[in-house]
Structure formats: C-alpha cells, structure tokens
C-alpha cells in the first residue's frame, strides 16, 4: 500500500467546540491513496517536545487533494496542534493502516463515540459511492454534550443516513450511552462499524457478537511510529497473541480483539 510524507498546509481551521477542531490539510498524495479507517501520523514542527508524531484518523478527503482531521485537545501534542492557524504547515505521513472493509452489505450501522466519530464520516461517504442506500443504514453518534455532536450529526444526516444521537448530559438525543441505541435496531443489521472509547466498543462488540452480527472495530493504542517498525502498538488479541494496531489494524473484526 502506498504511503507518503507530505508538508501539508492547513487550508482551513474550524472550531467545533472550545477544544475540538477540524483541520483541512493540503495533502494530495495522501488524499489520493486514502481508504476509510486509515490514519495519518502528524508532526506539528521540529521541536523535540513532544517528540513523537500523533495519530489521527482521516475524517474526509476531497477531490482537490485535501484531507480533513478532527481532533480534541487532550494533552501536549493536541494543544500544540490547536494553536496552529490556516496557512501553517504540518508534516503528515499516511495513509497508514488497514481501513474498513467496504463490500456491499445491506443494513449497516456506524457507531461513533467522541472522536471515534471522525473516521466514520469518510466511511459513510465511501459507502455511498459504493452504491449503498443510506436511508436503510443507521449512524449512531454519542458524545458528552450537544455541541460536540450537532455538526457531525447534521453532516451524516445530509448524506441521507438515519441518524440517532446520545449525550451523557442529555442535551441532545438519548440521555445516556450511544450503545443503548443499538439494542432496538440490532435485529435489522448485517454489519456494525464502530470507533470510540475501548469500553464503548467492547459493549458494541459484545452485543453484535451475541446477535451474530459482524462488527468491525477501529482500535486505539499508543503509537511511536505508525509504520509497523517499533512494535509498540500491541493489544491483546482474542487468541492470546498480540495484535499490532498500526499495521494489522487499526480496523479489526471485533472477534480478533480481547475485550477484557
């Protein structure tokens, strides 16, 4: 699979909430090769603190050679990224990893929690191009509160999907976990795609597996390289062996992952 390193100019910086941002990056080579579920490793500048690149899912690509990422400020690296402005440049390696399978299936369900929503939009768009009827498919989105969700919910809705939301504080949609929205519709569904916090994906995986529905999960770990070289990004696999998130994943069948 092709991989590129590009000096990417930030063309647009959108402020979603006070700590969630969406960047549009000029990255034609990466955009040209990207597949939903893949990610990029970003370096803000040549400062050695923080030292390592940070992984971000590709949120969207466009025909003009741009990619988008969405990120939340959680630490040093993301704080620094959030201080950049349109016109600044970041160093971008990608597209990395194995993305979501796209073969034709009826009745899909995309479940995103928090920043896990990011890769699902690229997936949702690509599925449309593959000819899938979005009105029969569900997009379930969860977040802490309303303003982390409205932008994304609207965008999935505009694609034609049936969108349901859940917030921890009840400010939008269901008051509770996004996983609660899955139970009532699970019977209809042939495949679940999910990305979000580990416990959330664990619940989704358990429910899907119980109902014998295929479930694709996008995993997160600490990554030093993103290239399969450091062997740092392991998680426990269901068979007792370790799985390597950056190269074998980040997308796995939920049955490959040890959830406890």
């Amino acid at each position: 699979m092709p991989e590129f390193q590009e000096k990417s100019q930030i063309l647009l910086k959108e402020t979603v909430t006070c700590d969630i941002f969406r960047l549009t990056l000029q990255a034609p080579a990466i955009a040209g090769a990207a597949h939903p579920g893949q990610f990029v490793m970003l370096q803000v500048d040549d400062s050695l603190d923080p030292l390592l690149r940070r992984p971000f899912s590709i949120h969207q690509i466009a025909a003009d050679g741009t990619i988008q990422i969405v990120f939340k400020v959680v630490g040093k690296g993301t704080a620094k990224l959030s201080r950049l402005a349109a016109g600044d440049t970041v160093d971008c390696i990608g597209p990395l990893g194995r993305g979501f399978p796209l073969e034709r299936m009826n009745r899909l369900c995309l479940i995103g929690g928090g920043m896990g929503i990011a890769p699902l939009y690229f997936l949702a768009k690509r599925l449309l191009q593959a000819g899938i009827q979005p009105e029969n498919d569900y997009v379930l989105l969860g977040a802490a509160t309303r303003n982390e969700l409205t932008l994304f919910a609207d965008e999935f809705f505009d694609l034609g999907y049936t969108v349901k939301t859940a917030t921890d504080d009840g400010s939008l949609g269901h008051h509770g976990f996004v996983t609660d929205l899955l139970e009532p519709i699970l019977a209809d569904i042939e495949r679940v795609y999910t990305c979000g916090p580990f416990p959330m994906m664990g619940i989704v995986a358990a429910r899907a597996q119980a109902a014998d529905v295929q479930c694709m999960v996008s995993m997160e770990t600490h990554m030093a390289c993103g290239l399969g070289a450091c062997l740092g990004c392991t998680l426990a696999g269901a068979d007792g062996k370790y799985i390597h998130v950056c190269r074998q994943g980040p997308v796995f069948d939920s049955k490959e992952v040890a959830w406890t």
């Binding site: 092709p2 991989e3 590129f4 390193q5 370096q43 050695l48 603190d49 923080p50 030292l51 390592l52 690149r53 390696i93 770990t221 600490h222 990554m223 030093a224 390289c225 290239l227 399969g228 070289a229 450091c230 062997l231 740092g232 990004c233 392991t234 998680l235 426990a236 062996k241 370790y242």
Partner: protein, 313 residues
C-alpha cells in the same frame, strides 16, 4: 563517491573487513526489517540497516502498554518481540537482500549457547553482512544479570559468537554500567570486530492518576535525543579505550548529531528513535554530512573521525 561543488567527497568507512558506502545506519528495533520504511525512505542510500533483534525462537514480547513518551525521549518495553531466526530467514531476508545497503543482523539470547547457535544459523546466508550482538539481555543461567553489565560474561558471549561465524561481529554495549570502557575492552579481548553503543538507558514512568507504571513491564529502555549527551560521552570514552571501530548510537536525529559522534571517535553511527518521528532522518544525515564536509574543506568523512579538539589538562 559523491560530488559536491565539483569536488568528490568520500563517505565510505570500514568496520573491519566490512566497507560501508557511508557511515549512516539505522538502529536495531527502530527500523523493523527495512521493508516497513521502504515507501518513505530510499533504503539504497543508507550505509546499512540493522534489523530488529532476532532470537532462536519467535518471541511474543511484553504485554501492552509497551511505549511511552518522555521529555525528548521515549521508553520502550517491547520485550524483544521477533519472528525468530527461521522466520527471519524465510520471510524477511529476501527483501533485505534487494537493498544496496549493508544488512546487519542483531541477535539476542538467554544464554551463551543461544548466541553461538544464532551466529551459526546466520552465517553463510547470502545478503547478511555482519552480526550485531545485543548483550543488554538477562543471562538466564546467571540469575538474570544482564550479559552487558559483567565484563567476563560479555567477553564470553563475544567469543561464543566469534567461534561460530566468519562474519564481522559487532558487540552492542549497554550504557547501564559504571565503566563503559572496561566493557568495551572486555569484548575487544573477546575478539569483537567492533562495538556499537549505546543501547537504551533503563528508565521508568508512573501515571499519577492510576498509580500504575506507564509500561506494563514496569521498567523500559530510554532512547531519543534525551540520552544523546550520555551516549556521546560513552562513545568518546570507548573510542579512546579500544582500537576496534566504534559505532555511535543514541539520540541521533540530525547531521550535526551524527557529526558529534564521528568527531568523538565513532567510525559509523546508527539512527534509532528518530526514524519514528522523522523517517527520512538517516537519509537527511547522509546529505548533511556531505554538506558539512564540503564546507569544512574535507574530502573524506574519515578525516573527521576522532577529530574532536580536546586540550587535555
């Protein structure tokens, strides 16, 4: 030979019998088996690639989390996960043979015997140019004391490897010792054709919130720019203590870093952690080295090896 401003600059260096097209290699465990970087780096331009440490049998490695970032560095406790010598020969060598760069195989074992057996298995294989012996591993038969912290044990491992191979043998030293020059002399006496240093410093990190170590293995190896001053000091000490070539490793990410090690007495250098945040670091160092030599009016990289100007008291 490369040409800059019309003049030819010779970047070749020799590690014993082994000639490298330039002194810039990639360090074991930080460059996979080469292929992982093939899309981003021109592998043919490197002096050599040292592959991830290989053991007799495949190893699963440590439980996660295995890596954590620290100030200008990182801790790793990969636990020497690797495909084992057979897996390496079957699945990794083919790609490596296709490179113009030298291939150095890093080996590790639990006992002196294992090192010897590994040397045997890797000798006579087309495309393998040298062995690098990682002695920062616990000697299981000696209660888990690291081979690399006891001069006699380090020398014994070196001899065991030398007896089973005609490949150049580079012994990779651990920095977690009181007297690095003593260790270097011990492996020189054991017959090593060169020494490389440093491997990682032992470190630790704790998460205040959970009160747990950030690495499942509790302790891990510290690498990256943070350790460069320690590595450079040790390379300088070792280069004055032994007459075999020294390969400098530790926090090298720019040409200036590499030049510091060459000036301190290293014949070649390895780029480690920098590959993770800047895959093209090694290539850029080759370019930067050439620019530096040209600016300094040198026509060979060998002129700067050990050329640090120290006024001794």
């Amino acid at each position: 030979m490369d040409t800059v401003n019309g003049s030819e600059i010779d970047l070749t260096v020799r590690l014993g019998n082994l000639q490298l097209r330039n002194p810039v290699m990639t360090a074991s465990g930080t460059f996979g088996y080469g292929r992982e970087f093939s899309q981003l780096v021109n592998l043919h331009r490197l002096g050599g690639v040292v592959v991830k440490g290989i053991s007799l049998e495949p190893r699963p490695g440590n439980p996660p989390p295995r890596v954590v970032e620290t100030a200008c560095g990182m801790l790793n406790a990969i636990g020497l996960e690797n495909v084992g010598v057979q897996g390496f020969l079957d699945r990794k060598m083919n790609f490596l043979r296709g490179m113009n760069s030298r291939v150095v195989v890093n080996i590790l074992g639990d006992s002196v015997e294992e090192y010897g057996l590994l040397a045997e298995r890797l000798t006579g294989v087309e495309g393998i140019d040298a062995l690098e012996v990682n002695i920062s591993c616990p000697n299981v038969k000696k209660g888990g004391v690291a081979f690399g912290t006891v001069p006699e044990m380090a020398a014994e491992v070196t001899r065991a490897v030398k007896e089973r191979t005609d490949l150049p043998v580079i012994v990779k030293l651990s920095p977690n010792v009181t007297d690095i020059a003593l260790m270097a002399r011990a492996v020189e006496d054991g017959g090593a054709d060169g020494v490389s240093l440093i491997n990682t410093l032992i470190g630790m990190a704790i998460d205040p919130g959970t009160r747990r170590p950030k690495l499942a293995n509790v302790i891990g190896g510290l690498s990256g720019p943070a350790i460069k001053p320690v590595a450079l000091r040790m390379v300088w000490q070792v280069a004055r203590a032994v007459s075999i070539p020294v390969i400098g490793i530790g926090g090298i990410s720019t040409a200036d870093d590499a030049i510091e090690f060459l000036l301190a007495g290293a014949t070649a250098i390895q780029v480690g952690t920098a590959n993770f945040y800047q895959p093209r670091a090694a290539e850029a160092i080759v370019d930067g080295l050439r620019t530096y030599l040209s600016e300094q009016g040198e026509d060979s990289v060998r002129s700067i090896i050990g050329a640090v100007r120290v006024v001794e008291g």
